[in-house]
Amino acid sequence: MARRRPPYRELTAIAGIVGAFVVVLLLVDSAYYRLILTLVVIWATLGLAWNMLSGYGGLISFGHAAFFGLGAYTVTLAMVKLDITPWLGIPMGVVVGMVAGLLVGLPTFRLRGHYFGLAMLAYPLAMLYVFEWLGYQEVTLPMKREQPAAWMQFSDPRVHALLGLGLMVLALLASLAVERSRFGRALRAIKQNEAAAEAAGIDTWRWKMPAMVLSAGFAAAAGGLYAVVLLIVTPPTVFGVLVSAQALIVCLFGGVGTLWGPVIGAAILVPLAEILHGELGSVVPGIQGVVYGLAIIGIILLAPEGIFWRLRDRFFARAPEVPKLAPAPDPPVALARPHHELLVLEGVSRAFGGLRAIDNVSLAVEEGTVHGIIGPNGAGKTTLFNVINGFLQPDSGTIRFDGRDIVGLRPNRICRAGIGRTFQIVRAFPRMTVLENVTTGAYVATPDDREAERLALWAIDRVGLSRREAGQMAAGLTMRQLRLLELARAVAARPRLLLLDEILAGLGHAELEEVVEAIRRIARGGTTVLIIEHTMHAMVRLADRLTVLDHGALIADGPPAEVTRDAAVIEAYLGRKWVQRAADRVA
């Protein structure tokens, strides 16, 4: 939540972590335990880096070893070949990592879901071979007996632990900043539903790329410090699958999509693995891997979203606060220019293989009206919307919005141009509150986060949701609330044209009245509405004008009273025999 108060609670927790770590570090007198503490913070940093992209953004990366390894090799080779101290080498590694993140992101973001994850898996494996081919199978950081501190070689290994701690705190603060900002919410929106995010005007590409670059930078920093601590770098130790897996495991174990998860995961798993290895490794070699695996399986079964979420849901579940903010004022009601055609489709067709989903449809939506599109199931209504808002490209025809050709624009661009939409299947972001959901929709209208929240509150009022409802998690909402949420999210961007896709479907009578009333209020506020329904009943009362589609083709267009008497419409809806009956009744 972008509450305006500084994140006291989180900063206190970070200070607590730092304090606890330093106390433990001072208490343990064994170099071995200090080494383990150092590894905890390094792996936690890698986990945090992974979390920035994959935890918040949901783009699961199996390849963070690529950045980790580049960081490690940059530090090592800078020291071996160029005599550059790791104090400079690590920042250099970060730059290399970030550039790699950019280069990796450019082609890989074209892929979605599992394909993205699998493609990411390939990068570190490729680099592993490249570095072997280059002849860097085993590179050691030379021991500096003169001025070791200038080369990050301290006789007291606690300094390494503190350096790692500093790096982890930086990663925590960066994660906190991401989590609390528009950046974080955009990423979470992308994670939960990339299509909905895109339709809500979020330029998914623009947010994914900085997330990748930031994430890569921190992963490289962790790798650089790892090289300094381990003092030897080999391709399998820094580019190996186990490194990528470690990033993933500490996050999944501790909790994905929260800055505490990787810290919890690393703080438990790294010492656990090491203790098992130390205690069992020389007694029953290999058993430590089995026990470790069982521990992970057990936790994942008991807490599928990670320890953090489990504990939070159990002990710290609290009603999310709704900020005390004044909603944004109503926009001035722009006087609709009479008979101004806001949206004009000419000869638009779209086929899927042999099926002509939309066939040569021409249509004009006048500003200030509620324009209904009806038709039986499979008439091509949703396809028409998808073509208008940019999810699909028309095979032929033109679409002009307020005189501007919008064919070929990405959905988020079309949203920015002033066309909002809802979905037939509600696409809410379940792990966000109603207000947060709606706020993602308002980002298009303003660069200011606070203003976006005020717009969201305005939209929530406008659709008739209460302030209490605004604080609820979307996961637990009723169908009515979900429909209103969708409506509010689309309205929050203050679109000039609103596309509503079967927003009334599946609602009971009382609920339907409420949603219809909300749509009327929106229309009165000056927003032009284009609405799809397949039930004629509500539409006749709501729409100023009706267009009827059947098998992709336009069969009628006009005022509701006229259209409902049209023989072709009745036939399409009810069958041939009803045409005669309707004619009789008119007579």
Binding site: S30, A31, Y32, Y33, L35, I36, L39, Y129, E132, W133, G135, Q137, E138, T140, P142, M143, S155, L230, L231, I232, T234, P236, T237, G240, L242, E274, H277, G278, G281, S282, P285, G286, Q288, G289
Partner: protein
């Protein structure tokens, strides 16, 4: 049977037990000096666990022999105690293991490890700073190029091996067949060891020896099918074939294909590198027929003069023969013993100092390392040379150096 035991009886029994325990476990200090701790840091889990296990066997045998023959005499007959640490499957784990035993056993005087070069490099970063001498059988040149004072490399380094291996082989071939080979082929994978082994050969090494490289094939393991590789060998018919894969399945595929193409059993002399080619596992997997005649180059193997050691080892462990791993770990323990005798104190730095001045020509340590034990300033064993081993009738026997060979090499006459 149920016996009712009173509290008094229990207490009495406990008291008696305590007195007895203290008499047995804490004898007067003068009678029995404190154990001296030595370490084996080796992979005991993960893909290299077998090699670590072999090292452990060798070290345990040496320690039993040392303790049974009166322990460290200079320390009043102190017994050696083996501290085992699992180096696992990564450099990080190896380093953690070293750090752990140094923390838990601050009076450690030295050790051997960690088999894989990259593990050894990581482990010795720790032991160097702690001033604990580490012996190693790893090949990497880098181990003794870092200016470290507490690492002792008993094997000839990878660089040395690459330099001397081929001339040695050519010498052997010439001796056996009466003529020097003119053509050579290489089949290798692209992992660290073969790459560094073959590099100097390709970069002028072969030319200098008057050899023409007629087959040069590099593959990325695992190998799916060796047909194309071996076909090239059949066409070119090199007089000497270097075979440098690094895992058993690839070894097997290639050897089977050589046999299928009637190139096996030494019709084209095959030379491999590394101890894995001589492991009993390979024999089990591939069978003696395919292996017959295959030679390989290692840093240490059972040689003439070690018969007694080999016999004891076979009897003790049930292994079919002794490998480099066991023999080296065995010798390393004896080196530590000799250094302790000279240092006269169980202090790691003093022991390291004594190791630097060792010059052993006989005794079990010198026996385990043909050529004797004497370290150069950088920690490399002086005069460490190669051993060439050949598979003969299901046994991997040393055939070179001649004075140490357990059997003469079989060098088949090339068929026209």
């Amino acid at each position: 049977m149920l016996v009712r035991v009173g509290l008094r009886n229990v207490l009495t029994a406990l008291a008696v037990a305590a007195v007895m325990a203290s008499t047995f476990t804490a004898p007067p200090v003068a009678a029995q000096p404190k154990d001296v701790k030595v370490a084996v840091i080796a992979p005991l889990s993960g893909p290299w666990a077998r090699q670590g296990k072999l090292m452990q066997m060798g070290a345990e045998m040496a320690i039993d022999e040392i303790n049974d023959s009166g322990g460290i005499k200079a320390l009043g007959g102190a017994r050696l105690k083996l501290i085992l640490a699992d180096a696992g499957d990564s450099a990080e784990k190896a380093k953690n293991a070293a750090q752990r035993i140094l923390a838990q056993e601050p009076d450690l005087v030295g050790g051997t490890g960690a088999w894989l070069s990259s593990f050894t490099l990581a482990v010795t970063e720790i032991t160097e700073r702690a001033g604990v001498p580490m012996l190693t059988l790893s090949y990497s040149d880098a181990i003794t190029e870092r200016g470290f004072h507490y690492v002792f490399q008993t094997s000839p380094t990878g660089g040395t091996q690459a330099k001397v291996a081929l001339p040695t082989l050519l010498q052997l071939a010439e001796k056996a067949t009466g003529k020097k080979p003119k053509t050579v082929g290489i089949i290798m994978d692209n992992t660290a060891a073969p790459v560094s082994f073959a590099k100097p050969m390709r970069e002028g090494g072969l030319q200098a020896l008057g050899l023409e490289l007629v087959v040069d094939e590099v593959f990325t393991p695992p190998l799916a099918d060796a047909t194309a590789l071996v076909q090239k060998v059949r066409r070119a018919r090199p007089e000497l074939m270097l075979l440098l894969p690094t895992n058993v399945p690839d070894d097997k595929l290639i050897l089977e294909k050589f046999n299928e193409f009637k190139l096996g059993q030494g019709r084209v002399p095959l030379i491999a590198n590394g101890a894995h080619i001589g492991s009993p596992e390979l024999l089990k997997n591939v069978g003696p027929e395919l292996l017959e005649g295959l030679m390989f180059i290692v840093a240490n193997w059972g040689v003439k003069g070690q018969e007694a050691i080999i016999e004891r080892f076979k009897k003790r462990t049930g292994e079919p023969w002794i490998t480099q791993d066991s023999m080296t770990a065995y010798g390393d323990m004896w080196i530590l013993k000799e250094a302790l005798e000279r240092a006269g104190v169980a202090d790691s730095r003093k022991v390291a100092e004594a190791m630097r001045s060792l010059d052993l020509k006989d005794g079990p340590a010198a026996l385990a390392f043909p050529g004797g034990v004497k370290f150069e300033a950088n920690g490399r064993r002086a005069g460490a040379h190669l051993v060439i081993v050949q598979w003969q009738k299901g046994q991997a026997v040393t055939v070179y150096p001649t004075e140490l060979a357990l059997a003469p090499p079989i060098w088949p006459k090339q068929q026209p």
